[in-house]
Assembly symmetry: C2
Amino acid sequence: MNQTVSPPAVPGQATVSGGSGSASPTFSPLYQQIKALIMQSLQTGEWKPGELIPSEVELAYRYKVSQGTVRKAIDELSADNLVVRRQGKGTFVATHHEARVQFRFLRLMPDAGDAHQPENHILEVKRLRGPAEVARVLDIKAGDSVVFIRRLQHFDGVPTIMEEIWLPGAIFKGLTAERLAEYKGPMYGLFETEFGTQMIRASEKLKAVAADELAVELLKVQPGTPMLSVERVAFTYGDRPVELRRALYVTTDYHYHNELI
Amino acid sequence: MNQTVSPPAVPGQATVSGGSGSASPTFSPLYQQIKALIMQSLQTGEWKPGELIPSEVELAYRYKVSQGTVRKAIDELSADNLVVRRQGKGTFVATHHEARVQFRFLRLMPDAGDAHQPENHILEVKRLRGPAEVARVLDIKAGDSVVFIRRLQHFDGVPTIMEEIWLPGAIFKGLTAERLAEYKGPMYGLFETEFGTQMIRASEKLKAVAADELAVELLKVQPGTPMLSVERVAFTYGDRPVELRRALYVTTDYHYHNELI
DNA sequence: AAGTGGTCTAGACCACTTT
DNA sequence: AAGTGGTCTAGACCACTTC
């Protein structure tokens, strides 16, 4: 039989299911249940990005498990990059307001020299009814409101990335071109702070394509120039897709870096 | 003070340094030392790819530490994909003779449908004096012997990948075109089995480039067609670079898949 | 000095596989 | 039944940070 935890003495406190009888059909290890509970608190914003979460001892008391079990749960959250541990200080909720996190989601590097902070140029922000394909990816109904963003990113003053971004309108209600343009820092940082939606993972598909008219105009390349096409679907908690992004990268002096491990 | 381990009673047995005095300049946790010792045994071939390594209990006895410490060491080795744990059976040395591992090192996926096993065509194998740039990457002396391989990979009968591979001649002594051509399975599997060299991680740089003459000839594409260029440096134990690979991918019906986590 | 995460141990029991 | 990895606990001590 699995490890079980007696119901909490305090009403409203989190409980842990473990299957205390032989008729328990589902099962997951205690530490996975603790991990799920902590993720819930992250998702609901009980502990916000950048903030300190309760100590291991305190969480162990709250969930009525040993510190070792909490530790293993947090170990996994740390491996998933949802939290960051700092010895002597505590465990912090990961945030996109950190260069370290940004590089996880922007893999374009200069062939020589150090990576610089890109300069953003918002070209267009509009609301539209989601095309079928976009709606399918974002897991919303076709025709539902969608925010569309067109953006240009300069590296060292050179236009290098052209992006088209689709977001669920229901989540990103007050998003305007002004807000995006005036915001200093990564777009995901804005999403996190202003819209309570944190991107925690993404899936990318890369291809080589020829520069189209728009790329020629915006990125100042010759027609037909080979461009790196990067299509991304980004997910928030609960594996909910909340962004579709199609980008074209100029890779003359830059490359997409990837580590195979 | 750090945890220390008394010297082994049996001569020749592995020892663990922990810094038993205040004058200990270097330090690493016990489990990291155990991890390093296990990696040594993997590198020297004491336990070969695909084989079972000793149980946690046995390793704990061998290194004179607790099972929990061995467990933590193996946990990391497992996270590094150097070993694979199987409940009830034991812990196995990872091997490239497994589809699961191959997909870690071949990220090209069909846009629709399932991934198939590619078909290999060895075009050329020769020995040459390493050009300065290749020697620099492989960390050998310029002019040292290098094995050069040119290969074509077909997906569903369509030529899709063209590769140029450079290997240190000192390691890959008996490598011939015949051996490569007749070998069924992944090239890294051959390297592992026949040359005792296992690729454990790789670093890739991706760009979009125009098809050159060779690509036009071998991959049957139009001149100037955008191609995905993938330059890889692969490493074996001790972070020793042992392969430089330059590939061109046709991405009309395929894409390079990447997960950002 | 107190609090945090990091390491290490010892022991118990569970789930899975093989004999 | 025996052996393996997987989970959970309790307790000790260490390294680091802050007060």
